[in-house]
Every structure is written in structure tokens, then in C-alpha cells.
Amino acid sequence: MKYRPERLVIEKGVAGSPLVKRILETLPGISVDWVDELKEDADGENGSFLEIVKFRGRFIKPCPGTRFYNCCGYQILNLGIHCSLGCTYCILQAYFTSRNVRLFANLDDAIQQLTEHLDNSRRQTHRIGTGEFTDSLLLDPLIHLSEHLVPLFAAQPNAILELKTKTAQVDLLENLDHRGHTIVAWSLNPPQVIAGEESGAAPLEARLEAAQRCQRWGYRVAFHFDPLLAYPGWQQGYQEVVDRLFSAVAPGGIAWISLGTLRFMPSLKTIIQQRYPNTSILDEEFIPGLDGKLRYFRDLRVEMYAHLNELLLGIHKDLCVYLCMESDDVWREALGFSPAERGGLSAMLDRRALS
């Protein structure tokens, strides 16, 4: 499962960056194409190339929530795009034409922007994640990004880094000085869903074992049941995941657990049908949501959220369970309260982040 590109495509302008040097040392003998500038649509449609470029935009941005649903107020630190794990439902397939992983080599610029951003808003609590446009730990064994980010956040009184992953590549985290400012998070699904829809990602057991190790090293962990998938027997499937989760992980050390049913831009539907003709994730009925994304019909969403919430709180009543991109009425019906009753979703999570 370890990510090993077939070829590197590197912009000449970043040839001297420490990140490039490290990658070339770690992958001796790999073929390299040196290019002046990489366009959005590079070759290697099968995703086997690693593209290393200079990123010229803003590295840190708010999560693109919509006004129709409750957004968690997350911020994204964008250090690369795309992912090689090949989940059938991955939204990135609709965002980017190329399937190659692309890494931004000017890490110094990113860190400078990040520190300026944090310095400029000291009063605000920042929950920042790197796993929005790629998997946070996919390239870690290759580029050791965590060695830069974890200590940096450890020194920030008002910020938390969330590393979201479907891998079990946590070895490098063991000896880092995190001071409780890094949360390591896994997306979870039943083993049969992982086998069918997330076949390039780590199996459930490996993810939970990695979470257990992180807890041992003092990290808080988080879990995202996202996307929750409705399939015949989903109730039992998710019950088993919850059982296995709590036999591996201590509930007191869980920062939060999010729930979000499958949703996607309509353009992704055709891509999924073409790339994964045998997947059954499109079998359920979908309706266009207020944000234009296709999602399960609300009654099914409410049923799934209520079921999971009951399972989770049945094990530990103090868990912080939240819904990702849902409206107040769905919150109330599924969880019994709306975020506004607890000061808003963002504030709820901020309190957990720094507790």
C-alpha cells in the first residue's frame, strides 16, 4: 500500500528544495522528467506519476462550506492535491482531470503563510487540516511532512492540526513533540465497504491499530464516518465498526467523531460509472441537495445518523458527535439538538479542540 510513484515530474524551479532532495534520496534510480512548468492537465492519466511543483496561490483557506448546511469552520492547509488510494466515491476525481498526486515543494512559503495567518488572528481558535485535497499521511514516509507540521502546531497556543487519513502510516509521529496540538483522524467504514470502495486504503484493523498507537503516544484521535454508505445490512456493518473501534481505542481520548452520508457533485456520477462500473454506491436513491450536491433522501440520512449516534453515545455518552454539512432540521431529528443550541458547530468543535 505504500505510495511509490512510477516516475517523478519536477518543475526545474523547485529542484533545489529540501523536499525534492529528500524524495530523490528516498527513491534512488527513479525516472525523473524535469519540466519548466507543469500545466493543470499533465500526462499520466492513470495517476502513477508524482508531480512536484511550486504552488503560487494561498496555502491556507477556509473549508468551502455552504450557507445551506452547518459548516464546521475548518481551515484547509493545502500542501498537495490528489491521492493514489483510489476510493470509488472520491470527490477529487471531479475536481482534477489528472489523477497524478501533485505535491507543492515550496514548503517554506506554506509555513510562512501559515504562521502569519495564525499570528494575525491570535484570539481565534484554528482547526486546520491537510486532508481535504489529498490524504494527510499518504506521502509522509516519503516527505516527512509531519516532522515539520507537528512541532510547528505544538508551539501555537490557538491552533490544532488535524491529520486525516485512511492509511496506517503513523510511524513518524511517534517521537514528535506534539503537546496535544495534533489530532490524528481516520475515516472509517465496514470492512466490506473498505474492500469494495476503498481498496487502495488500509484495512479497518490497520487503521484502528494505528489509532491505538497514536493514543499510546499521547495524541488525541478523531474519527470520520464519512461517507456513510447505505447498503443492505449497513446497520450491522456499522455496529461492528463501532464495536471494533472501542475495543481498540479509549473513548476519553477521542476529540470528535463526524458523521456524513455520501454526497457528491452530479458530475462525479458519470466519472464513477465509467471508472468503477461494478460499484454499487450509486444504487441508493439520491436527491439534489440545497448545495447542488447529490445526497441520500433526508429520511435515510436521519435514520443513519440517529443509528450511529445511538451506537456511539451508547458506549460513551460524552463523545462529541457532529454532522458534516447538514441542516438544523436534520440535526434535531437525528441528534436531538441543533448546533445553534450549543453555540454553533464551530464553537462546539473549538471547545473540544483546545480542551
Binding site: F68, S280, L282, D283, E285, I287, P288, G289, L290, F297, R298, D299, L300, V302, S327, D328, D329, E333
Partner: protein, 321 residues
């Protein structure tokens, strides 16, 4: 300018099997036959002698076909020298046709498919798709190229305008039996193009979910009963079949709509008042429609509605199961 010479030819000199420059598709227009019958060939067809000594048609295939039908020969034609490349001949055929008329979708597909043998795809898309009044896009190019893989009767319907090319696009990836099941269905009942598209998607998805072929879905007892309910008008049958198939595809939404109708029915709303749920019951925005003719009528309705809003039955309508 290309050098060409006028010759008088016999029709058995024409290589009718050489379709390399043929981009016309569809029945011969009656007006063309009438014109040739009445005043003879006004514009000379353009041909090129091939290696076997026969004449390949470059421009004027329909004029020549009419002449053949009418037994008109010898014919005065223009003949291109053999030095002219097949690509140039094909370009002549294309430009000659598009200068005179709009091509039908099958002909557009023929242009793109035949030119693809000579030209790189990106250039072809940029040069020829706008000429054919098509948006220059790889996706649309791919759709047109696949049209030609379908059976003749379907292509005839597309060329003749009884089946929209958009439906051709969605039918082309299907198995032959499924394609014909849809084709016959659409020829039988007056579905609009957008409903036809929706039905193909719906039926294919039902089939995928329930492990049935689209043909089996269309052949289900429920659909067949509605299809054969000849006492109802074709329009009614179309609506009912559509409703039936959408309900099969979206049972949860359908159940919710039915429950909503039942519960609203029990409320006994005042005349002229309608409760409208949010689209797909998504989001908090419900609305109320109230029609009235006089101010006192409005006041009465509002009083009645205020009472209604407090009733548990009304609140229940807004909750999910």
C-alpha cells in the same frame, strides 16, 4: 484550385461501394428527384478515378443516386486527377455539403469519424465541430463517434428526426437488445426528449440495482400493464409509466410524497389553500399557497390557518418517518 476535367460518364463506371467520401445519410429528398426529373442535373457531380479504373464519388452522391433511379445516362461529371489525396477529396465532400445544407446528426458523425482517419483529434475538434454547429469538446466528439456503431434502423430514425440524437447518445453504450427495447418503447409512445433521457437513466439504474437488464425492467408487468392500457390516452399512459418508473427508482421519496398527500388530505385545508413541501423535502423552507378574491375571505382563511398550524397533525406532516 484543384484541376478537374469534365467528362461524360456511364453509371456502371461509378464505384458504388466506395464510401470513403460519402457523408450523406438518409432517404433521397423528393424535391431533388423532382428537380432532376424536371430540368436534369444542374450541378455536375465530382468524382475521382480509382486504381481499378472505377469512379469514386466525391461530391454529389445523392444526385447520382437519383440519376441511377431514373436511369439517366450518360452524365456530365467533373473528374479529379488521381494525384488528389483521399483527405483532400473527403474535405471537398464535407465543405461542399455544409455549404448547401445542415447535416443531420448521423452525417455529422460520419464527418467526424471519417476525418478522424486523416487528422489528429484535437485539430479535428477545433476545425470541424464548429463547422457542424457543435461545441468543440472531446466529450461531444466521443458521443458523435459512437452513434455510428448503432444499428441501421436506429440511425435511420435519428437521421429522419424521429429519434433525437441525445437519445442516440444514451442508447449507444447499451447492449443491442436493451437499445431496441428503448427504441421501440419511444417509437410507441410520445415521450418528450428530456423524459426519454430521464427514463433511460432511471431504467438502467433500476436494472443495475435490482440485477435486471434494462429490457427486463421495461418488460415488467407494471410497465406492460400501463403500456397496454389502451383505454387511456397515450399522454396519460406516458405520465403513468414515468411515475411508475420513478417510484421504482426512488421508493423513499415516493413513500414520503404519498404520506404527505395522505396527511395533508386529513387536514381538511380551507378551499384555495395548498401546503407545498420543500423540493425533495430537503431544507426547512415549506410554503403555503393561498388564493382569495376579497379581503374578508383572506382574513377568514388566515384565521383558519392559524388554528391549523397549532394542531399536532400539521406538525407531524413536517417530520420524517
Amino acid at each position: 484550385m484543384t484541376e478537374k476535367e469534365s467528362y461524360s460518364i456511364q453509371l456502371d463506371e461509378v464505384d458504388w461501394n466506395d464510401a470513403s467520401c460519402l457523408i450523406t445519410y438518409g432517404p433521397l429528398p423528393d424535391k431533388l428527384t423532382l428537380s432532376i426529373q424536371t430540368v436534369g442535373l444542374i450541378q455536375k457531380p465530382l468524382l475521382q478515378r480509382n486504381r481499378d479504373g472505377l469512379l469514386r464519388i466525391v461530391c454529389g452522391s445523392r444526385r447520382l443516386a437519383v440519376c441511377q433511379q431514373l436511369g439517366l445516362e450518360p452524365l456530365s461529371c467533373e473528374i479529379l486527377p488521381t494525384s488528389i489525396s483521399p483527405e483532400t477529396c473527403l474535405r471537398m465532400a464535407i465543405y461542399d455539403n455544409i455549404a448547401q445544407r445542415d447535416l443531420n446528426p448521423v452525417e455529422k458523425s460520419l464527418v467526424l469519424t471519417k476525418m478522424a482517419q486523416h487528422e489528429d483529434q484535437a485539430q479535428l475538434i477545433q476545425e470541424f465541430m464548429p463547422l457542424l454547429n457543435l461545441e468543440p469538446s472531446t466529450v461531444i466528439f466521443g458521443r458523435y463517434k459512437k452513434l455510428l456503431l448503432m444499428e441501421e434502423s436506429i440511425l435511420d430514425a435519428i437521421a429522419g428526426g424521429t429519434l433525437h440524437e441525445r437519445i442516440g447518445f444514451v442508447l449507444s453504450p447499451l447492449e443491442q437488445g436493451d437499445r431496441f427495447a428503448f427504441f421501440n418503447f419511444f417509437q410507441e409512445l410520445p415521450f418528450s426528449v428530456s423524459v426519454q433521457e430521464e427514463l433511460v437513466e432511471t431504467v438502467v439504474e433500476i436494472g443495475r440495482r435490482d440485477n435486471l437488464t434494462p429490457r427486463e425492467v421495461l418488460d415488467s408487468a407494471e410497465v406492460n400493464d400501463l403500456r397496454r392500457a389502451h383505454k387511456r390516452s397515450a399522454r396519460q399512459r406516458v405520465q403513468e409509466i414515468r411515475k411508475q418508473l420513478l417510484a421504482t427508482r426512488a421508493p423513499r421519496l415516493t413513500a414520503r410524497e404519498e404520506r404527505f398527500d395522505r396527511e395533508v388530505g386529513k387536514l381538511k385545508l380551507p378551499a384555495g389553500v395548498r401546503v407545498v413541501p420543500p423540493p425533495y423535502f430537503e431544507g426547512p423552507r415549506w410554503s403555503l399557497e393561498c388564493t382569495f378574491e376579497r379581503g374578508d375571505e383572506l382574513a377568514t382563511r388566515l384565521r383558519q390557518l392559524a388554528e391549523l398550524a397549532d394542531q399536532p397533525e400539521f406538525k407531524q406532516i413536517m417530520e420524517s418517518e
